[in-house]
Amino acid sequence: MTLNSHVLPMPGAGSPPRGEEAPTLVIEPSPRFPRLGLRELWAYRGLFLFLVWRDIKVRYAQTVLGAGWAILQPALTTVVFSVVFGLLARVPSDGVPYPVFALTALVPWTYFASALTSSSNSLVSSTNLITKVYFPRLVIPLAPVLAGLMDFAVAFGLLLAVMLAYGMVPSLAALAVVPLLLLCMILTAAGVGCWMSALNIQYRDVKHVVPFLLQVWMYASPILYPASLVPERWRMLYALNPMVGVVEGFRAALLQTRAVSWGVIAVSCAMGLVLLLTGALYFRKAERVFADVA
């Protein structure tokens, strides 16, 4: 038995049963209502981390600038936005210089957009795995969501540097809310990623839908403009878009434009959680046909 100790434990595998004991594994048509299979997901955490590591390592292979892209993307977008919306259109920015105002939103948004895009495409580009090896399929759309955090960290560093350059120092107390915002952002990207990747492998239309969805979503989030432009009575409805809570939370915590709105953040987090739960369940339900349609 020592020989096999390296093999990942299967669910329900205590000591390996022999003969008439309980089977290690039963293969049969899955029940109508899907289960999340969290225990199995946990058992395969090693593979999950490997896929995350692969995504990070491969992302900038054979590029000249490498991780510089993680800085350039939000930085250049900030410049464009500052000129068009800050200088020309004079969009209000809650009393903060527009470039900082925009960059604070673009750092989480860039993460969200790229995590969602790669997560949506992840299953389709992993058909070689799906049709040849078994492992919990959920690791596929989740890995790019985690891998994107590397770029996010680099971009976040840029944001802090720009803030310092503008003479703004975030308070430590305000920074305490940031992990919660990160969580909300990750939940949302993972949830929508599960939905989109599972739909994408069945209907390749999704590949055309995602860029459009992201565009609309960006305008529906306070990236270019402050959330204060949205009438007070619509705020909670607005917060149903989880990115509203994330972006406004970032601005409130880092730029101290106004007090952190816990209500909005709570609604956004709850929505992110709902998206992830439904996304994961839909994914598990659709999963049984993946190998057949891939």
């Binding site: 096999n4 293969i27 593979l47 692969r54 292979a61 799906i130 090896v133 349609v293």
Partner: protein, 438 residues
Amino acid sequence: MSGVAIRASGLGKSYRIGVAAERHGSLREALAGAGRSAARGLRARRAPAPETVWALRDVSFDVGHGEALGIIGRNGAGKSTLLKVLSRITEPTTGRAEVYGRVGSLLEVGTGFHPELSGRDNVFLNGSILGMDRAYIAGRFDEIVAFSGVEKFIDTPVKRYSSGMYLRLAFAVAAHLEPEILIVDEVLAVGDASFQKKCLGKMQDVTQEGRTVLFVSHDMTAISRLCPRALLLDQGGVLAHGPTRSVIGTYLQSGLGTTATREWADPSRAPGGDVVRLRAVRVRSRAGEVTETLDIRAGGRVELEFDVLEDGHVLVPNYGFHNEEGTLIFIAHDSDPEWRGRPRPRGRYVSTAWIPGDLLAEGQVVVGVAVSTHDPVVLHADEQDAVAFHVVDNLDPQGPRGDYAGHMPGVVRPLLRWTTDCRRAVQAEPFAQEIAAP
């Protein structure tokens, strides 16, 4: 070490026809489908039953611990589907299988290899995809690399590897997978002869260690050497299960073993309907012998024998030729002037298509046959993967390969007419001279 390792009972797997179309399916079709099913609810009697194909039906068998079981059968018999169900890649439609022990499957070597990553990284990645943990891979790393023989390039991205190096590294990782139950699908069918020998040797070690092994192969020699027992599948069901020698005997006697002929003894179960029934399909050499191998330069023939059961139909036999990757090489329609546009009386017909030499590339060619009417389009009978043959290149320098003896990729290998136009040696200012010339 006794008892059962795998107990399959009544395993079945069905595919809806149309799932293949959903492969590149679009949302519009799905929406249209939803609309149709809604409409169907209103007018239930017009609902056409969705057609299903059973890739596996009622498959039951036991594999004991430490037993090596070979799985044989012709193309499309359900072997790969069975392995995929047992590997949990796709789930069964009916039945169940109980597995006692940890399963590792090798349906391919190098699954998940990433071209941008180095050999070292890919060993870890591929290993973890196959189910090994990091510490185990690290412990065996030197052994794996030594087995592959690519030490010098282990830190080079694998996209710079030759296909041979790539395969050797991939197999080296796979060979170090040590589950209690190993499921292997024809991974040996790749690479050159010496590589295959090495793989076969490794497989032999594995079976002698007393591991439970399920092994699918077309290679009867390999099966009989590695597996004391075998399972014969045909049309998704179990046709025979027992000692390998007798199962292989059944396979060869049933005519399933040769791919050069396909005959339907019972006309009522042959492909076709009220107008046409297929009787037999055969591959013959140019000289007329039934054969599985055709000389690349000589070509051969494919004949289709069929009964016409109803007078007055214009019938066109037609074939589709596919290579082993499943790529359609070409389609051919019977253009014999004698029967073109002419209704056929009842009777038995044999249509023969003559395949010219210097057309097909070397390798396996699978032929699907059909009999149709073109105006209006009616498909009277068809059989996909009816027969198959190997095109063998004898390295004749008069052929399309000339004096080149290496690997020639490509779907076809036609002999083209080449001409050469040679000008006199040009001097210092070729362009000026050309322009100056009248």
